[in-house]
Symmetry: C2
């Protein structure tokens, strides 16, 4: 599985629609143009219509037939856009020019937002050269210091993302510096507890095995070399569950800045997938994130 699979799958689905909060941003509208050209998604642009039209003209984006809701105020625009997702009028919700803090406020808004009761989490999906499968990294950007309970939410949030990408029963590796429980390392105790919960049927739809060091999680050769033949994960993990945001974010940025990986990411645990790309993400990453959100939206709709 890779991003070509995700992009190809999107085209087999009923067309998904994304509402964009404060769409008057050239990088965002470049994505909209590509989404139209490559048939990835339909859009509802919520924001400053005059500015949207001016940028569209500049970048050669034809807005004929595109739904635009004119709302120059960025906070109001985010609330109007998120309500479309809340009401089921669109399938995904995406950040435009509105700042992250106010965008997240709209996601968490009690009346028109996208909470489902559980915790929200972020998943970053990577296609790493040399790997025959996608890796699902969580949480590298949103939840700072997850508790055991949070980690259960993170896993449950991530499973539909894996399924949407063709991984029916993902292997989840709660990783740490070591592969054995060390009473002085809380993260290893929690990893073992997650494993027990999975074995006893309290967490389903996946195979959890932890604590694992990263080599045992992702490198079958290393697993063989270290004699890890009795483990349920032997270098073939799909989901890498990090101890905290620092470990996750540092690994995420190591992959981005030292390998030729492709990636896309979404916020999950919400009523519909949320696309919260960063200013520094490449155009390809943003497009991958929208495609990822579209297949996850389908998965969530089918799962209901």
């Amino acid at each position: 599985m890779n991003f070509d699979y995700v992009l190809a799958k999107v085209k087999t689905l009923s067309k998904k629609k994304v509402a964009i909060a404060a769409a008057q941003d050239s990088a965002v509208l470049e994505c909209v143009k590509a989404c139209k050209e490559q048939d990835i998604a339909d859009v509802v642009l919520v924001g400053d219509q005059a500015k949207i039209e001016a940028i569209a003209k500049e970048i050669g984006l034809d807005l004929t037939g595109t739904e635009i809701i004119d709302e120059p105020d960025m906070i109001e625009a985010s609330l109007k856009a998120v309500k479309l997702a809340h009401d089921g009028d669109v399938d995904m919700y995406m950040k435009g020019l509105v700042d992250t803090k106010n965008f997240l406020k709209s996601v968490l808004n009690k009346e028109v937002g996208l909470r489902t009761g559980g915790a929200l989490s972020h998943v970053s999906v990577f296609e790493v050269p040399g790997f025959d499968r996608l890796l699902f990294l969580t949480d590298v950007a949103f939840m700072t210091y997850p508790t055991l309970e949070d980690k259960v939410h993170i896993i449950n949030n991530t499973i539909p993302v894996c399924r949407a990408c063709g991984v029916e029963v993902p292997k989840v590796a709660p990783v740490a510096a070591v592969e054995v429980v060390n009473p002085k390392m809380q993260v290893t105790i929690e990893a073992a507890e997650l494993t027990r919960m999975n074995e006893e049927g309290e967490i389903t739809g996946c195979i959890i095995d932890g604590p694992l060091s990263l080599d045992l999680a992702i490198d079958p050769e290393a697993a063989k070399h270290k004699g890890a033949t009795n483990r349920r994960i032997q270098g073939d993990a799909d989901v890498i569950l990090f101890p905290d945001i620092h470990a996750g974010n540092l690994v995420y940025k190591t992959l981005v800045h030292t390998t030729q990986s492709k990636n896309g990411c979404i916020l999950t645990g919400t009523k519909v997938p949320v696309i919260l790309t960063s200013r520094s993400d490449t155009f390809e990453t943003k497009l991958n994130s929208i495609a990822l959100a579209a297949v996850v939206a389908e998965e969530l709709q089918q799962g209901k």
Copy 2:
């Protein structure tokens, strides 16, 4: 700077000598053979002489003129080997077949060990494809949850390693998921404090700037893109100081298992450099570690 620089530098120095604890191990003796052939270091083999000679014969290692101290007991062998380093008879100390726990006990032994008063730490030196310089990762293997005081020791332990590799005034980035102080993230507070200590002359011989996200630490383009023009590190960090062993080890293994990097590592803060390679390290990594230890030994001897 890269490992070719380190390997070339070794040959310009007076020949360094390494004592090996329980040397009756084929992987270790393969390294000894390469050290002799490539003129990297002299050795004192402490261990089971009969076994050492048998393995040497098998791998074609000529032991003529090689000092061997016959001690079949592995713990005794480690104590005899570390004493050679303690007494100044050798320049480096290396683990052979003795297990890590007992090897470290010998390093920490109060009578014949290598403590200097400060904390010990591990530094892993990376040559990453696409980078014009070596990266010094610390601590990815030894110190689990460093306090602020420990981090000062880690930095002071790492500076001579950088100097030995040709980096006179290393740039030290205490990294985290974010590049600003967040009162809810202790690691960012400590990073800012280390920066203040450096600015006010309490930590010298380096330039510290933190907290930094990894992109701002290692990618000049990202630093430019994010407008970090007022920072003392703008994508040009030498030392990556990790929040804890989990973050460090996960990044270390990401580099090992997803990039074509070269690396070598030593334990520092000791009287002489300690080589503690892992069973799963490649032959090249082990050899790089010995070469690294040799240039660091010279640096420590010159610094006295």
